[in-house]
């Protein structure tokens, strides 16, 4: 018990320290808009990839539809902030996005989660494309032109705090009875059922949870970038998030954070390479995967449970 509290305090300390550090750098001007942009993008990517990692890495369900749920959150915020231009409006829009995403995830998940492996991937990708096409043809979403001049409530502190909350929530989910249940589904669903685990329910739970975080990420993205359009939520965007998950190590939350940061750095640095940017990125991606097939961290997790207690065996 004490050990847990100590570990939690270390985590809290790290998060607060990160905040203060960034704040100090902003204040002294070490971090300019450009770097802030990079930070925030990494933060939002972490939120998105955490949710996807829960679905893919922990539950073993191959979803390629993350961008669709992200779009739901983004448009909820984009649309609601047109008339409710206030912080309350923003948070309300986040909540609405999450609720709609959850409903969509249930509608999509209940039938499709029966599918396996790549069949599920294609079905979720299809569902996400359907969402995108619908958004592309609706009036309220302003069609392909998308929405712009969205007020910026998602400033970096907001993104940072939401990112921390997302990490905590997903980590807490994973390190609990629920997490063990979804992992058993990943490992062997037949055995899981035989052990009394309702695999359908747990798959859906993870899928819905992941979708909700995607919606949150979408809301933040919309309000930070202040512009959204349907083309941002296509298959390639789902893949971009998938890359973070796999590169970090499917099944490692720490890995997701590391991969998002690494990719953020690569992306930022490559901005200096003009036309060659994507060529180098592609090569980097291939090489990283060939030399680190399990992802950067495999399934390793950073943990502070052993800190300060000699010989303690945590579980």
């Amino acid at each position: 018990m004490k050990r847990n509290i100590r570990a939690n305090f270390i985590w809290l300390f790290i998060m607060v320290f990160g905040f203060v550090a960034i704040d100090a750098m902003e204040f002294t001007g070490i971090v300019n808009t450009f770097m802030e942009n990079a930070f925030v993008t990494v933060g939002i990517n972490i939120i998105l990839a955490m949710g996807l990692n829960l679905i893919i890495g922990f539950t073993g369900q191959f979803s390629l539809g993350h961008a669709g749920f992200m779009a739901i959150g983004a448009y909820a915020t984009g649309i609601m902030l047109q008339t409710m231009d206030s912080p309350i409006g923003f948070w309300l829009s986040v909540a609405v996005g999450v609720v709609i995403a959850i409903i969509a995830a249930i509608i999509i998940g209940v039938p499709t989660l029966r599918l396996r492996g790549d069949y599920l991937a294609i079905a979720t990708m299809g569902a996400s494309e359907i969402i995108r096409v619908v958004i592309n043809n609706l009036k309220i979403t302003n069609g392909p032109a998308g929405l712009f001049n969205i007020p910026q409530y998602a400033t970096w502190p907001v993104v940072y705090v939401v990112m921390c909350i997302t990490i905590i929530m997903i980590a807490n989910f994973v390190h609990s009875r629920a997490g063990r249940a979804v992992m058993s589904v990943r490992e062997d669903d037949i055995a899981a059922e035989a052990m009394g685990i309702n695999t359908t329910k747990w798959k859906l739970a993870a899928f819905v949870f992941g979708a909700a975080t995607a919606a949150v990420g979408g809301s933040l993205h919309a309000s930070y970038i202040q512009t959204i359009s349907p083309s941002e939520f296509g298959i390639m965007n789902s893949i971009a998030i998938l890359i973070i998950v796999v590169l970090g190590g499917a099944g490692s939350l720490t890995g997701t954070v590391v991969a998002a940061v690494v990719l953020g750095i690569i992306d930022t640095v490559l901005q200096n390479f003009g036309t060659l940017r994507m060529v180098i990125y592609a090569l980097a991606l291939i090489l990283l995967m060939v030399f680190k097939p399990g992802g950067l961290l495999g399934r390793w997790e950073l943990s502070f449970k052993h800190v300060g207690k000699k010989g303690a065996r945590a579980e």
Binding site: F173, S176, S184, E187, A191, E193, M195, G196
Partner: protein, 263 residues
């Protein structure tokens, strides 16, 4: 008196093949029963129906415990497991990337609760519940001499240990009825002997009724009280080990001239 498990005329049809045909049997609490029969007789298939993995083509399966009576056919495997039937598999099915301890803790999922708020907020009640789950799992492992491998990855263990972990995992669901599919396969005589001790212990200490499939006659004849013999999907005999050993039909179709240890 109601039986713990009552199987009435169950049949499993795969296309043109009746893998199990019109089998009826009963199991009472506290029994130790073996299901034997030639390869392809339908033993595993019968287990699959009893544990909800497959749904019988026809027939009914009723499971009665203190908690109540349940009609097994039509139920999902997890519902069946939650009601108190647990099993191991002919081909080991551990959660092979997870630790032994997690394998066991997962089996306790259906009978433990952690609500969303306490999980997310890490309330003291959460830690208390986790501790309780962990303690129980550890105690169980300890009881079977497996505590030292609690943190090992299940898939990396030697075969014999994997078999034992699978049995312990099944026990962690707190079953009233435990199904073991060929627990001794791939074991040498020494290990088989240890397995027998383990099964006896389960029966004695955990108040569990056991049905097992086994081709190792030394184990079957020395361990069980009653034997059902399946051949070509149908029951051809039922009785005590000595009755079965001397049943001409069983000898002809199954035992052959194999030297069978005396009870």
């Amino acid at each position: 008196m109601t039986h713990l498990l009552q199987v009435d005329h169950v049949t499993q049809q795969f296309g043109g093949l009746k893998a199990v045909s019109d089998v009826s049997m009963t199991v009472d609490a506290g029994e130790l029963i073996a299901l034997i029969g030639p390869n392809g007789a339908g033993k595993t298939t019968l287990f699959n129906m009893l544990t909800g993995v497959n749904t019988p083509t026809s027939g009914t399966i009723t499971f009665t415990t203190a908690k109540g009576t349940m009609k097994v056919n039509g139920k999902r495997a997890d519902q069946v497991a939650a009601a108190g039937m647990s099993r191991t598999f002919q081909n080991i099915r551990l959660f092979s990337d997870l630790t032994v301890l997690d394998n066991v803790r997962i089996a306790m999922t259906h009978r433990t609760r952690e609500n969303f708020a306490e999980t997310m907020l890490r309330l003291p009640s959460f830690y208390k519940k986790e501790q309780a789950i962990t303690d129980e799992a550890k105690a169980l492992l300890k009881d079977f001499g497996l505590e030292r491998i609690g943190r090992s990855i299940a898939g990396e263990l030697p075969y014999g240990e994997q078999r034992r972990v699978e049995i312990v995992r099944a026990l962690a669901t707190k079953p009233s009825l435990l199904f073991l599919d060929e627990p001794a396969a791939g074991m040498n005589p020494e290990e088989t002997a240890a397995l027998m001790a383990l099964i006896k212990k389960i029966q004695a200490d955990y108040d569990v009724t056991v049905i097992l499939i086994e081709h190792d006659m030394a184990l079957v004849m020395n361990l069980v009280q009653r034997i059902y013999v399946l051949d070509h999907g149908s029951l051809i005999a039922e009785g005590t080990p000595s009755e079965i050993r001397n049943n001409a039909e069983v000898v002809a179709s199954y035992l052959g001239g194999a030297p069978v240890a005396e009870g």
